[in-house]
Every structure is written in structure tokens, then in C-alpha cells.
């Protein structure tokens, strides 16, 4: 499923105006970026509340298809800027990580 399709279905806001609309192959939920570096699968959407620039650096290093920010956390401006540069979409929701993970899982694996 493509990022835009997932966002549309779940009613999640896409914070970045321009992005690469790639196929989401998998997902990973964690707020610990060191853990993400160690364990996240390929082509994943990262579900997290870490809404800063370094999250995008990690996402870029590991080729994530998208970053989903939970709990309506505001996304830092330089994080959006970096995301735009890298073409990685940032999505945002008021759902917490548990609920968002369930919803995303149902869409891409269900």
C-alpha cells in the first residue's frame, strides 16, 4: 500500500507537501532511535513520537518509506525541512503508538 493511500484510509495528516509516495512494506514502532537503528525492517513506516530532525536522518539511513508521528506531537520545523529534502513523508495523528500500530498493521498486513 502506498503512503498516500494509507494516510487517506486512516485519516492521517501528511505534514510534508512533497514526498516520494512509495509502497509501505512493513512497520516498526519505537521511540528509541538506537533500537530503530538496530532492529527496524526494510521499507518500513516508522511509528514514533520522536518528531525531530535526527529521526529523519535515521529514516533516511534505513530507507524508511514514511515516518508517522503519534499523539499529535508537533513536528519541529527543521525536521519538516529535512523530510522535504529527503522526500520522506511525515504523517501525523492524534492516535497513540499502540492504536496507530494496530491500524497500520491492519491496513498493510491484514
Amino acid at each position: 500500500m502506498k503512503v498516500s493511500e494509507l494516510a487517506g484510509k486512516l485519516g492521517y495528516e501528511i505534514v510534508t507537501e512533497k514526498y516520494n509516495d512509495n509502497e509501505i512494506a512493513d512497520g516498526y514502532t519505537s521511540d528509541l532511535l538506537s533500537d530503530v537503528m538496530g532492529n527496524a525492517p526494510e521499507g518500513a513506516i516508522l511509528i514514533t513520537i520522536q518528531a525531530h530532525k535526527n529521526t529523519l536522518a535515521v529514516a533516511s539511513q534505513l530507507d524508511f518509506t514514511a515516518v508517522l508521528i503519534c499523539n499529535n506531537r508537533s513536528v519541529e520545523a527543521d525536521a519538516v525541512e529535512t523530510a522535504l529534502k529527503l522526500g520522506i513523508p511525515i504523517l501525523k495523528t492524534k492516535d497513540n503508538q499502540f492504536i496507530a500500530s494496530y491500524k497500520v498493521y491492519c491496513e498493510i498486513k491484514g
Partner: protein, 309 residues
């Protein structure tokens, strides 16, 4: 004539800041100073000035600085007919002084704040020990900067040179520079993609380089990361200049961390950096010495293409 001193104590490069904080006033001041006693006459001082081509004479009484006579004071005394009188009545008594143990940064800000060209220096027992002029400050600064630049040049000369069939990339990483953390790894990834290295290998190299890059930014006083790529393997070499690790065995255990709360709040510093790096490497080495720095080498072979898929 107001003029800004050509060194800023606020926005100079790190190396200048470091030097003006490390050096003390006593490292720059002149200790052989021509002085006079309280009983000298203004005429005596004028002769001293003429003979030695100086424009200020400190007046000393039992090792204590009690005043200064400047050219202006002499002119004034000549004008008013006091030239044969004792200095005590005609010297400048309210003085701005520096202490010999203060860092040089104090002197820099004093030269900025006051229009004087030189300051008398006293020690902690208030004994007069020397004079400091802006010229003294600048010349000691230049000497120090020469040494620092020489050190930097020596480092560059001893660097490895690219061999044929080898690509080398080299990045400096500054302490706590999270703005730029990831730039070196980003560049490595680009190079690997251009070389059509297998995606799984790129991913492992990305994890290793990003973790090592972050480690330098989080834990060290600064360092550099070097990538060497040939037809067979990627070498990632991370060196920093301190503070060093006392037990390298410990950092290879998952969960051991010395990171502060702020680093942790960003989602790092969970004690997984070195274990993550080690796991994705085919060869891994870490050496460290307290006070000297840490050196980590990760080697990833290009040929194990399908193994990690």
C-alpha cells in the same frame, strides 16, 4: 581613539577561545619593567622615558604599585611647572590593574573596555609583577596559533592516501553537533549507491557509520570518520580525540551507556550504538585510551550479498 581589540571573547573560533582561556596573563606579560620609587621627581621620570623610549613608568613602593606616570602626566607637570616635584603628587593614582593568574580573555576584554594601551599586572599578594600591552597579547596569541596550525598540518600530512581502485571520504565531526550528525553517513550511502553495492550491504554500512558518527558527536570531544571503499570491502574508521573509555569491553555490551538525559530524550544513548555497529560488521575493532581518545574500525565485505536478506 576608540578601537575594537581584534579578538572577540564572544564569537571567535573555538581554537581562539580555547587559547585565550588556557593562557594566563603571566604567560604574555613583560616582567622586565623600568620602574621608579615614590621619591623620584617628575624630571627623573621624564629622563627615564627619554633614555629608554618608553611612555609609561610604574611607581613602586615596597613591591606595591602605587601609581603610574604617563607622558600626559609629564606634559601636564611641565605645563604647570611641577616638573621638579616628587612623583607622588603628580602621578596617576587610580589604576586599572590585571592579576597574573587571570586568563588572557580578561585582558582581551579590558583592552576592549578601556582605552589604555597597557595594564600593570599584580599577583595575588598585590605585588607588582609586570606590564601587559596589547602587543604582548597579540604576539603570544600568534605564537600559540602557529603551534596549533602546525599540529593541524602535521595531522593532515600523516593521513592515508587513496590507493588506486579505492574511494576515500573523510569527515570531521564536532562535539554535540546534532545539526550535522548523519552527513557523513549520508555521503557514504550515496557513494555506495553509485557503486551499485547491494542494498543489504548498504544498510549495514549505514547503520555502522551512523552509529559511529553519533558516538563521536555524543560522547567525544570531537573526531573524524574515514570511509575506505574498494572492490572487496568497506572500512569505516572512527577516531576521536578524547576523553577515552576506561573499559572497552563494557561498551560492547548492550545497555551500557554514559549518555546524559538530553541525549536520551532525543532517542539515543541507550547503550546500543557499539553493539549495533558490531552486529552489522564482518570485522570489528575498538581501542581506547583515557585522555587520548577512542578508535573504532568496522569492516563490511561487499561479497556477503545475500546473507543478510
Amino acid at each position: 581613539m576608540p578601537h575594537r581589540f581584534p579578538i572577540s571573547t564572544e564569537k571567535s573560533p573555538n581554537i581562539i577561545m580555547e587559547v585565550i582561556l588556557r593562557l594566563k596573563i603571566k604567560d604574555a606579560m613583560v616582567t622586565k619593567v623600568i620602574t621608579a620609587g615614590r621619591d623620584a621627581s617628575m624630571r627623573d621620570i621624564q629622563k627615564l622615558m627619554k633614555k629608554n623610549a618608553i611612555s609609561g613608568v610604574p611607581i613602586i613602593d615596597h613591591d606595591r604599585l602605587i601609581g603610574m606616570v604617563s607622558v600626559n602626566d609629564i606634559i601636564h607637570a611641565l605645563d604647570k611647572g611641577h616638573i621638579e616635584e616628587p612623583v607622588h603628587d603628580h602621578m596617576t593614582k587610580s589604576l586599572v590593574v590585571l592579576e597574573d593568574d587571570m586568563p588572557l580573555s580578561f585582558a582581551v576584554s579590558y583592552f576592549d573596555k578601556y582605552s589604555y594601551r597597557r595594564f600593570p599586572v599584580i599577583d595575588k599578594n598585590r605585588k607588582f609583577v609586570g606590564m601587559l600591552s596589547s602587543r604582548d597579547v597579540l604576539s603570544v596569541m600568534l605564537q600559540q596559533l602557529n603551534l596549533e596550525i602546525k599540529e593541524l598540518e602535521d595531522k593532515i600530512v600523516s593521513e592515508r592516501v587513496e590507493l588506486p581502485n579505492q574511494i576515500m571520504r573523510d569527515f570531521f565531526i564536532k562535539k554535540f553537533d546534532f545539526e550535522n550528525a548523519g552527513k557523513a553517513s549520508f555521503e557514504l550511502k550515496k557513494v555506495l549507491k553509485e557503486k551499485n553495492v547491494h542494498a543489504a550491504v548498504i544498510r549495514r554500512a549505514s547503520v555502522a557509520s551512523y552509529e559511529l558518527e553519533l558516538n563521536i558527536a555524543i560522547h567525544s570531544d570531537g573526531g573524524r570518520i574515514v570511509f575506505l571503499l574498494d572492490d572487496e570491502k568497506i572500512e569505516i574508521i572512527a577516531n576521536d580525540t578524547g576523553p577515552g573509555i576506561d573499559d572497552v569491553e563494557k561498551v560492547t555490551e548492550e545497555g551500557y551507556s554514559t549518555a546524559n538525559e538530553w541525549i536520551r530524550s532525543l532517542g539515543f544513548g541507550a547503550g546500543m550504538g557499539i553493539p549495533n555497529t558490531k552486529r552489522v560488521s564482518d570485522e570489528f575493532e575498538i581501542t581506547s585510551e583515557i585522555g587520548k581518545g577512542t578508535s573504532v574500525k568496522s569492516v563490511i565485505y561487499l561479497e556477503k550479498k545475500n546473507e543478510s536478506q
